[in-house]
């Protein structure tokens, strides 16, 4: 229907009834928009500031990792998977490498598992701090961004101290973690174990993170304007959340205390004490508070793990050429954003036959059309931001 037709229709309608019906306006939000976290596009049909319907368009950042994986060796794929959810690179490496280990029947040594645990939790802190900073920014508060990112930098420094990479650690190897700097005579002797002073640095950084969390409590959570913007906004009931396949903090904020670290741990999580944080109402405020408290829990886990880490080798005995026998497996882990899984089908050989990535943000984002219906445009920003997605994770 053209504009002219609509206009004509209106004229005729006005003639019979006084009620003037105006057509909705199509508002294209994104792919370049300050609050779409990259290149998400929402085609919103709005009536003034009220959203009638919204249709997300994804794929602007599709990099084809599932297909790329079919032409890369298992060793090379590690470098790809930590680029899927780049704010928590290490956390998305672990389920993949565990899947490969399961297919090969390799059990990584204790120390390697504990290092993985510590680095995963550090990645969780780093990822949540990005959310802690960007979410208030979306509501117009600029200061938490700088405070949270300043301390995230210290966490990234820790990750870099061990792995050599801030965002893309590429530190997991089949059978453990990266054992040595190289394969030559001299480099083989250079162990990639935890460097001296790292544990002390970690402890002081975690203290800093606790202080940061308290700061955010005062600056953001307790702020009346923040509450006014988030309490009761974008409520996701528990059953809806389960229906749409939400996971991670988004699900827990709706009152489902489901955490894969408790349910299906593949790292020594049973040996550390931590609480599964959950909230009840499932609104934006709860999603923020749940993540904030998860930072505190993650920091506690790191502090415990630093005390408990056993000594031993970094990598199990694995053949030099990684060849995976025929078989298939699905391994999932608790990524900072939720359930992150890899389904690997191997036909034998150095490359997987097919790898399906169950990325968290994609599923979490699927609730957008439902949740945004009938919201205001400022709430669109608030609700969308509270789901904490990364576009690389959505489009893969």
């Amino acid at each position: 229907m053209t504009d002219r037709d609509i206009a004509m229709r209106h004229r005729s309608e006005v003639a019979v009834s006084v009620e003037l019906e105006t057509p909705g306006m199509t508002l294209n939000i994104g792919p370049q928009h300050p609050s779409t976290h990259g290149v998400l596009r929402l085609i919103a049909n709005v009536d003034g500031e009220r959203i009638i319907s919204v249709q997300p368009v994804i794929g602007y950042m599709h990099r084809g990792y599932e297909k790329l994986s079919e032409v890369r060796t298992y060793v090379q794929i590690t470098t790809l998977v930590n680029r899927i959810d780049w704010v928590a690179g290490f956390a998305s490496e672990v389920p993949y490498i565990v899947a490969v280990e399961r297919l090969m029947g390799v059990e990584p040594p204790e120390r390697a598992q504990w290092i993985r645990l510590i680095l995963s939790e550090l990645a969780r802190i780093a990822s949540h701090l990005v959310f802690m900073s960007s979410y208030p920014l979306e509501l117009g508060a600029i200061t938490p961004l700088f405070h949270a990112l300043r301390d995230r930098e210290r966490v990234l420094e820790l990750i870099e101290g061990v792995t050599g990479g801030r965002f893309h650690p590429n530190f997991n190897r089949v059978g453990g973690v990266k054992p040595a700097a190289g394969a030559g005579k001299q480099q083989r002797g250079v162990s990639q174990d935890i460097p001296a002073g790292w544990f002390a640095q970690t402890q002081s950084t975690m203290e800093r993170i606790f202080g940061m969390c308290d700061d955010l409590d005062t600056l953001v959570v307790g702020n009346e304007l923040f509450k006014a913007r988030t309490v009761g906004v974008g409520i996701i009931p528990a059953d809806r959340a389960i229906e749409y396949g939400l996971s991670g903090p988004n699900l827990r904020a709706s009152g489902v205390p489901y955490d894969l670290r408790k349910v299906e741990p593949h790292l020594p999580y049973p040996e550390v004490e931590f609480n599964v944080i959950s909230a009840e109402s499932g609104d934006c405020h709860d999603r923020y508070v749940v993540r904030l408290n998860e930072i505190r829990e993650a920091a506690k886990i790191v502090l415990q793990a630093v005390d408990k880490i056993p000594s031993g080798p970094l990598v199990a005995k694995v053949p030099r050429l990684i060849k995976v026998p025929k078989g298939q497996t699905y391994v999932r882990g608790e990524n900072p954003k939720g359930e992150f899984g890899y389904y690997i089908i191997s036909e034998g050989g150095q490359k997987p036959y097919r790898m399906k990535i169950r990325s968290t943000s994609f599923s979490n984002l699927s609730i957008l059309p439902w949740i945004l219906e009938g919201q205001l445009i400022p709430d669109l920003v608030a609700v969308m931001g509270s789901l904490d997605f990364v576009l690389g994770d959505v489009d893969r």
């Binding site: 590429n170 509450k227 409520i235």
Partner: protein, 170 residues
């Protein structure tokens, strides 16, 4: 209650959360006010620099002496950004009657840092200690082509390779 009749966003009077005299608001103001008198965390980059950790993956250094043109790194690279060319050279034996040695000579060893994703697999797999990580990071260029570091440039980085850090006693 099934999900069908779950009330979605029941319109709530959110204004009741705003209660006079806004204690949280003033606490927030107090926090920013406190930071006004604290030292900024900024590092003034070109004047002062943060020193990267020794393991930091900044740039790859090449030891041409050690390289045997085995191409292992080039094949292991996930995005094929290492270009190697070489030729075989016969070395005449020093004593007459001795064996003629065949030695591989490196003609070209280029790493395209425009493509490199800093995964470090090439360093991992090098069987002759020819590749090292250096934490140097200041090699941005105005032209993309200048990011292709040739053999000589890669050898220059060798001087910046730090000693491995001591390990935590276990």
């Amino acid at each position: 209650m099934t999900s069908k009749d779950t009330p979605k966003d029941t319109p709530k009077d959110t204004s009741k959360n705003i209660r006079f005299p806004f204690p949280g608001l003033f606490k927030g103001l107090g926090l920013t006010g406190k930071y006004l008198f604290k030292k900024p965390a900024t590092v003034m980059y070109p004047d002062e620099k943060e020193i990267p950790v020794p393991r930091s993956r900044g740039v790859i250094a090449l030891d041409t002496e050690a390289c045997t043109v085995c191409m292992v790194c080039s094949r292991a690279c996930p995005d094929w950004c290492i270009y190697i060319e070489g030729h075989k050279e016969e070395q005449q034996p020093e004593e007459p009657g001795g064996k003629v040695k065949v030695r591989a000579e490196l003609d070209r060893f280029d790493i395209d840092y425009g493509l490199c994703m800093y995964c470090g697999i090439c360093v991992d797999v090098c069987p002759f200690d020819a590749l090292f990580w250096s934490p140097e990071y200041e090699y941005s260029e105005h032209e993309v082509v200048d990011l292709l570091h040739d053999k000589d440039r890669l050898t220059d980085w060798l001087g910046t390779v730090p000693d491995p850090p001591p390990l935590e006693p276990s």
